[in-house]
């Protein structure tokens, strides 16, 4: 085995200075947790504020006369519904309707879009996008290395970030964004996130990342009992799972369609895009499986890949399973046959050879109070 050199975000030194435990995540050297630990990081984000380096995500510019038409051709959601300063969640799909990646599409103007894709898939996404642009009047640029992305999440995210910017944050609606300055640094300030909390994702030039990161920690009162905490990938995962948000490679993949993953709401099947025919057919013929949420009722923790049973019959597989630190339950997502998705139904999870009872529940498991 040759050892591949791990990629680093521009905040790598900051993570080490903060005592982050670094792991290989999809080829990136990233903090899985800091000394406070995953549970503390998770709870602090739910109750106060958490800070996440998500600079490993990929950013792609799409500009030109056909920008909207092109991204509409590539993605399941309808970009023509977006107004300037608005973003939406969407998916890149193959002809057969399975997923290349899930992404955010930002509209800066009628001829200027900005795509934010996953870390581990960005090279594949870029090639996919490039290979389809010949018939469109667009220019694309892979800007992944140019940007840092810092997510500040939690009920206090707005008040903390407001200390560092003149942009009126309360005026930015959910899934909208503004171009402004944070601590004097040019930034895109987007009211989005992956935690189920209110909060922002801030994009800026990567060389400015340390200044922004340190200032956000300072503004959030890092070090005090209720102050902001830097959060690692483990907390990012448990937060998104409590909110039942999909993670590529788990609930979405090149073997799974968005319809199966309960993402019909991002598939505008009356529009034309790569994979739309396959998805229309799947919708018409009915799904073979559907994503559900479950809670363990026996003592035990379901993990990714564990088999799901109904009595003696194997009915599916766990895509994500974990303790839920805020809910204090053991939860998971799994694919099961569509006729077995009713909340309250008992299923069993094969936890390393033991069949433990679980109950299907409505998702999201956690929904913040507004």
């Amino acid at each position: 085995m040759t050892e591949q050199k791990l990629k680093q975000t521009s905040l790598n030194a900051a993570h080490r200075d903060l005592g982050g435990r670094m792991v290989d995540f999809e080829g990136w050297d990233m903090p899985v947790q800091y000394p406070a630990g995953t549970i503390a990081e998770h709870l602090r984000t739910r109750e106060h504020c958490g800070l996440f380096d998500v600079s490993h995500m990929g950013e792609i510019h799409v500009v030109g006369k056909d920008a909207i038409e092109f991204v509409n051709y590539l993605t399941t959601n309808d970009v023509s519904n977006l107004v300037d300063g608005q973003a939406h969640y969407s998916a890149l799909t193959y002809e057969n309707g399975t997923v290349v990646d899930d992404l955010l599409v930002y509209r800066f103007g009628p001829e200027k879009l900005f795509l934010v894709v996953n870390a581990g898939t960005q090279d594949k996404d870029w090639e996919w996008i490039e290979s389809h642009k010949a018939d469109f009047d667009v220019e694309t640029a892979n800007a992944s290395n140019d940007y840092c992305q810092i997510a500040i999440q939690g009920p206090e995210a707005e008040s903390v970030l407001q200390k560092l910017t003149d942009t009126e944050l309360s005026a930015i609606k959910y899934y909208h964004f503004e171009e402004g300055e944070v601590d004097g640094v040019e930034a895109i300030i987007s009211r989005t996130g992956y935690t189920g909390e209110d909060g922002f994702e801030v994009y800026a030039a990567s060389e400015m990342s340390r200044q922004l990161w340190d200032k956000m920690l300072e503004a959030g009162g890092y070090g005090s009992d209720t102050g902001i905490l830097p959060c690692g990938l483990a907390a990012r995962n448990t937060l998104r799972l409590e909110s039942a948000m999909s993670l590529y490679g788990h609930e979405l993949s090149d073997k799974i369609t968005p319809l199966e993953a309960n993402l019909g709401w991002i598939c505008k099947l009356k529009t034309e895009f790569i994979g739309c025919e396959a998805l229309r057919t799947q919708k018409k013929n009915g799904l073979d499986r559907k994503l559900i949420g479950f809670e363990m009722t026996d003592r035990g923790i379901a993990r990714d890949g564990y088999d799901v049973y109904s009595g003696e019959e194997k009915i599916g597989v766990v895509t994500s399973g974990s303790p839920a630190p805020f809910l204090k339950k053991n939860i998971g997502l799994a694919f099961v046959p569509p006729e077995m998705t009713d909340p309250g139904r008992e299923i069993q999870i094969d936890v390393r050879g033991r069949r433990l009872a679980a109950e299907i529940v409505k998702t999201p498991f956690y929904r913040r109070e507004k």
Binding site: T38, R303, P323
Partner: protein, 130 residues
């Protein structure tokens, strides 16, 4: 640096053993709990269960992962720490004290002599880190 009490014996799987007569008290080391992160679940065997040396006798789960625990000595389980059912986080707080996991009556009371001393375990950790 991980805490490694002088009076205990250690296994390569990061269990510690305290020998009193023919009974071995077993838990996981400070290094092990630190590597796992927040412990949220501990699964232990039943009293009366028999295990051979190196058998998995239970598991410790953190938010992120499951880790099996192996017995460094063979014998019969005479006692388990049921407090860990309700307070698994004790494994992080006090791995060598309140978070002992099982007591095993050893088939061969000399077996623990073959385990690492504190000094040897410290060397072992250093070699693992490299």
């Amino acid at each position: 640096m991980a805490n490694i009490p002088e009076e205990l014996k250690y296994s390569k799987d990061h269990e510690w053993v305290l020998v009193e007569g023919d009974v071995a008290t077993i838990g996981i080391t400070d290094y092990a709990q630190e590597s796992l992160g927040d412990v949220v679940f501990v699964e232990l065997p039943n009293e009366g269960d028999n295990f051979n040396t190196h058998d998995a006798f239970g598991s410790v789960e953190s938010v992120k992962a499951v880790s099996e625990i192996f017995t460094p000595v063979g014998g019969e389980v005479v006692s388990t720490n049921e407090d860990l059912n309700d307070a698994p986080e004790v494994v992080n707080d006090d791995p060598y004290g309140d978070a002992w996991m099982v007591k095993i009556k050893m088939d061969n009371s000399g077996e623990a002599d073959g385990l690492m001393s504190a000094e040897e375990y410290e060397e072992y950790l250093k070699s693992e880190e490299d």
